[in-house]
Symmetry: C2
Subunit: 296 residues, 2 copies
């Protein structure tokens, strides 16, 4: 069972502190640190790690230990909103793992973080059973500075831990979500209005697909426009359906798709679903992929 | 580097002999035995194994040792043509391995088999540099019983080993080829002539794609017809191109594709190529697939 985890930590300037956290993750067997990026202006670092549930749990706890010792939010400034030293911890099902597995893991880790470090924990996204507390932005509103007041209200009692902020580490938001796919479609036109109209047609916020966020942009150097998207659940809103809809909407304006691009990582299952759709493959099973027989 | 190997052995009835060979393969570190199927009427067993080049080499040599000790071709009868105890050994590039790597490995193993067991070895397919000796059927023609006469002719001097058959193990054919994909397309019609015409249009032997073998069949129980194919090089003749051609040819007869099916295993790259084609993904790299970052 393979689970991905993308902890966001409130430190992006003191790189020796970030390196010590990376070291702590790398020291855990059964886990690989796939990516680490630090943003000084956000004063924030994003770790991408993956492994079996036990390994990922241990790596996250090791990260909490280092972050709690090394970060004091009272002295932290940056452009990005944040509630805690370890600000957000999403668990993401990748292979042989279900969303239910990730929800279970999020709750287990949340309880442990509260018990071991005295940090209040909010569950979010799929791990939250309260609709008013699913959205990360809602939980984080008011930030570390407003937390003491917010946490005292009955609506914002944490899911685990004390009803008061940790003095230096604030609170943490832990949960489960699907992998996010950054997907862009470039149109063979310089008409920005077409890209903006298509983005509006496909994104949830204006009536489109539930798991699509989209905006239209001009790519100045190439003289073309782009529909830039985040696909937040490729199982329920698959890439091929978004692609076909963009293609059909573009036709309406006499515009063709020039190309599409996947930015960063994509789960194999998201690409396989496209192959199955277009090739009309009946009753395909993931274990028919040769490479899937080589992993235990 | 991941290489697949599919040795065909001339024993499909005495299952304790087959089991001993499987045991020998399983005992080699760095190798996994993915599949084993024995056919009593062919009196033949097919092993599918995969691993790094060193592991695969050791596993094949261990298989030769058991097969040479346990099989006497003078007493072997079966429907399938055969030249040797270990009849055919193809090496197949899967991941991070090129065809050149597999050709190198085939020659290395061929030389070792000749040296250690005194078995003459013919190189075939991509490992053969002689056009008259690329095709397995050409090399195997005359079978074990005709080998003593054939091997004495200058045209059929082996690539490695003695110019005479091994008394009980005959000769072996060792080489390199692309993975074979068994791919069927079912048509929404009961018109067998349409399936046969389309099969003729797409297969190499009658003017179609170079790496396609195809035939049209009736699926009696479902009342539909099928274009049944072997795709012998999915890089040069990709699945999506075959699918689109079958679809277009079927339209000519007013027939639609009902579904397609992949029988058995398919390399991930073959499916990814279809996703890239239909989604028009520009400059996609295999290391963008999340899972590919988890293997060393």
């Amino acid at each position: 069972m393979l689970i991905e985890c993308v902890p966001n930590v409130s430190e992006g300037r003191r790189l020796e502190v970030v390196a010590a956290m990376a070291e702590a993750i790398r020291g855990v067997p059964g886990v690989r640190l796939l990516d680490l990026s630090s943003d000084p202006s956000h004063n924030r670092s994003v770790f991408t790690l993956a492994g079996d549930p036990i390994g990922v749990e241990r790596a996250v706890l090791a990260l909490f230990e280092r972050a709690t010792a090394g970060i004091d939010l009272r002295a932290h400034k940056g452009e990005h909103p944040r509630l805690g030293a370890v600000d957000v911890v999403p668990f993401i099902p990748i292979e042989g793992a279900t969303m239910a597995d990730c929800v279970t893991l999020a709750k287990k880790v949340g309880a442990e973080v509260a018990a071991r470090f005295g940090i209040p924990v909010y569950l979010y996204e799929e791990a939250s059973s309260n609709p008013a507390r699913k959205n990360l932005e809602d939980i984080r509103r008011g930030e570390f500075e407003g937390l003491a007041a917010k946490i005292a209200s009955p609506d914002w009692s944490p899911d685990f831990g004390p009803k008061a902020p940790h003095p230096t580490a604030g609170a943490s938001v832990i949960g489960a979500r699907m992998p996010l796919i950054a997907y862009n479609i470039n149109l063979a036109t310089d008409r920005l209005d077409v890209a903006k109209k298509i983005a509006a047609a496909i994104r949830q916020s204006s009536g489109g697909f539930r798991y699509v966020k989209a905006a239209g942009f001009m790519l100045q150097d190439r003289g073309i426009v782009q529909v830039s998207m985040n696909l937040t659940n490729y199982e329920k809103t698959p890439i091929f359906r978004v692609f076909e809809t963009v293609k059909r909407e573009a036709e309406r304006y006499g515009v063709s798709i020039l190309e599409s691009e996947i930015v960063g990582l994509v789960p194999a299952a998201a690409l396989n679903a496209a192959a199955e759709f277009y090739l009309q493959i009946a009753s395909f099973k993931p274990d028919q992929i040769l490479e899937n027989n080589l992993r235990t």
